[in-house]
Symmetry: C2
Subunit: 344 residues, 2 copies
C-alpha cells in the first residue's frame, strides 16, 4: 500500500467513525502525481509516444476520431456533449467521462468494466460506434506503416515493441500525467483560507451535512482509493423520483450490461467531482445540462432530499472550487508517412 | 511593396528572362515570417485567441469539428484524407489544403475564392458540409456565452469586439505564424551544400528542366508572390491523358464553380509544394494517393511529358527536401462555460 492510499484509507475510516463532523478527514488536496502501476512506469519517451497516439486520428477507421476528440485535454477532458460522435457521426449511449485525474480511479468506464487506464484505452479504438477499428491487428498493421511510431515503440518497449498492449501502455502513461492540482479547495486545505469564498465554505458544509460526501470522498471525490480493479459503485438512482422519467435515468442498466449480474443493475462507478463545473452535461447519459440541476437530482435520487435553492447554490459554489490548475502541454507532432496517405 | 515581395518579383523576372538556367533565381528559402496585412497585425494576445478558436469544436454546429479537424497543425496541416469529414460525417468534394505556409498565398481555397486568410476562415464555419453553423450571428451568439472569449475579444479588439470579422481576424493571425522554414532545400540555399542528397540535387535539376518550376516557383513554390487577392491560376489538366478518367480530374470545374466565367473552367490556384511529401493524397479531389504518381500525373497533364522512373524518383527526393521545420506549439486552453454545457 502506498503512502498515498494509506492516508486516504485513514480519511475514509475517519469519515466512517466520525459522522457529520469529519470534514477535516474527508477532504484532501489532490496529489501532484497519480499512483503508477509497477508494470508501466511512465518515462518521458513513453509519455511523449502516448501523447502522439492520444491525438492521432489514424487510430480510428476513417482517420477522423482520436482519443482527444471525445476526451479533449485542451478543455474539460470531455467533449461537453451528452453523447460523443464517433466515426461517420455515430453515437454511443453514454457520456464521455473526463480524462483529467482519471488516473486516480481504481476502475475505468462508467460501469467499471476496465481495471486500468491501459485496459480502458483498448476499448474505444475497437468500439464500432467510436473509433471502429476492426481488430487489434488492424491497429498494429496501420501503425506499422508509420515509421516514426515503429522507431519510438522500439526505443520505448524494445524490439517487436509495437503491440496493442504497448499502444495501451503508452496512452495510459500519458493519461497518468493529466492531473489538475492546486484548485481553490486544494489551496484552502493547504492553509490558504482565502482560497474559498464564504459561499463555497457554506457549500462545503452543506456537501457534508446533506451527505454528498458519503460517496464523493477521497482526494479525487470519487470514493476511497481502492486497490486497482476494485470499483467503488453505487446504485443510481437509489430513490425513485420525478427525475427518473424526466432524464431517463433508468433506461441504461449500468454495470449489469457488462456483468449480467442482477446485483449490478443500475450500479455505476462513483465519478470524480474534480473539475465537475467544467464537465457538463451530467450523468451517464448526459441528460442534465447544468450543475445546479445535477445537484438537485443527486440529492433527490441518492439521498431522498429536496434541497433549498440556497443549498443548491452553495454546493455549486463549493463544486466550482474543485476546478484545478491545468498544466500547459506542448502539442505533439504526429509521425508522418512520407509520400503517401494511410487512411482513405 | 514589401522587401520580401520585391525580392520575389526579381526572382520571377529572373526566371522569365533567363529560361532554363535560372535555378539560382527561382529557388528561394522560405522566410521566417509571412507578409502581414496592415489591418490585422498579429499580436501575442490575438494569436493566442486565434489558436483557441482554431482548435475549438464549438465553432461547429454539433461541437465536433474544429478548423484543426481538417487542417491538423499537429501533422501536415491537412487531414491526409481525399475529402474531409464535416459534422455528422458529411463530406465535401475537395481535399483540405494545408494550413502550413498558407499565409504566403495571395488567394485562398483551391479556387481562389477568398482573398485572405481572414476571408477564408469565414467559409468552413458556415459551410453546411463542414462546420455547418447556420449564420454568422449564430456563431457570435454561441461565443457570447463563453466568458473567456468575450473578455479576450474585448481585450484584443476593444469593446464590442466579438464580431464575425474579428473571429476571422484572430484565426488569420494565428494561421499567419504557421510557417515551416529551414527545410533541407532552405539550408542548401543558405549555403549548407550537404543539406541536399545527390538524388535531391538531381531532382532539383529535373524539376527545372522538365518545367515544373514554370508554375511552382517563388519561396512557397506556389508561383510568384502576387498582391493579395490576385491569384496565380493554371488550367488543370492542361493536356488530356489517361489520368483524366483514372483520377476523375475534370469532374470538378474549379474556379468556374465560383465565378461562372467560362474562362475559369478547370482553373485552379497553383498550390504550394512546401511539405508536399506530407500532404497526400494529392490534387483538388485527393484522388492520387502517392507523391510519385502525383509527379507522373503533373508531368503528363501539365507538360505533356512522360517522365522516366528515375526522373520521378529524383523529383520526389527533391520534393522531400521541401519538408520544413515545424515549430513547437503550446496547446491552447479552450475557455469554459462553468456549470453548463453549450452544445447538445
Amino acid at each position: 500500500m502506498t503512502r498515498l492510499s494509506k492516508s486516504i484509507s485513514r480519511a475514509v475510516i475517519g469519515l466512517t467513525l466520525g459522522g457529520a463532523s469529519v470534514a477535516a478527514f474527508a477532504f484532501q488536496p489532490l496529489p501532484d502525481k497519480a499512483p503508477e502501476p509497477a508494470d508501466n512506469p511512465g518515462t518521458a519517451a513513453k509519455i511523449e509516444l502516448g501523447k502522439q497516439l492520444y491525438f492521432d486520428p489514424r487510430l480510428s477507421l476513417d482517420g477522423t476520431v482520436s482519443c482527444n476528440s471525445c476526451h479533449n485535454v485542451m478543455a474539460s477532458g470531455t467533449d461537453n456533449k451528452a453523447t460523443s460522435a464517433g466515426v461517420a457521426g455515430k453515437h454511443g449511449g453514454r457520456s464521455a467521462p473526463t480524462v483529467w485525474n482519471s488516473a486516480f480511479l481504481s476502475v475505468q468506464f462508467w460501469d467499471g468494466r476496465a481495471n486500468t487506464l491501459e485496459d480502458q484505452a483498448k476499448g474505444p479504438i475497437l468500439n464500432p460506434v467510436e473509433m471502429a477499428m476492426p481488430s487489434e491487428q488492424a491497429v498494429i498493421d496501420r501503425l506499422q506503416k508509420i515509421p516514426g511510431y515503429v522507431s519510438q515503440f522500439e526505443a520505448v518497449f524494445g524490439k517487436d515493441g509495437l503491440t496493442y498492449d504497448n499502444v495501451a501502455k503508452a496512452i495510459g502513461a500519458f493519461e497518468r500525467v493529466l492531473i489538475t492540482p492546486n484548485g481553490p479547495l486544494d489551496r484552502y486545505l493547504k492553509g490558504d483560507k482565502s482560497a474559498l469564498t464564504a459561499q463555497a465554505q457554506r457549500g462545503m458544509q452543506a456537501f457534508e451535512q446533506v451527505g454528498c460526501v458519503a460517496c464523493h470522498n477521497g482526494a479525487n471525490f470519487s470514493g476511497p482509493q481502492l486497490p486497482v480493479g476494485q470499483g467503488f459503485y453505487q446504485r443510481f438512482p437509489s430513490f425513485s423520483s420525478q427525475y427518473d422519467k424526466k432524464y431517463q435515468l433508468t433506461a441504461d442498466e449500468g454495470r449489469f450490461e457488462a456483468t449480467k449480474k442482477e446485483a449490478d443493475k443500475h450500479m455505476w462507478r462513483v465519478p470524480t467531482l474534480r473539475n465537475v463545473a467544467l464537465t457538463a452535461p451530467y450523468f451517464h447519459n448526459g441528460a442534465v445540462k447544468t450543475l445546479d440541476e445535477a445537484v438537485r437530482v443527486m440529492a433527490k435520487a441518492q439521498l431522498s432530499k429536496d434541497l433549498t435553492e440556497q443549498q443548491v447554490a452553495d454546493i455549486v459554489a463549493f463544486l466550482n472550487s474543485l476546478t484545478g490548475e491545468f498544466p500547459q502541454i506542448a502539442m505533439p507532432r504526429l509521425p508522418d508517412t512520407p509520400n503517401s496517405s494511410l487512411v482513405d
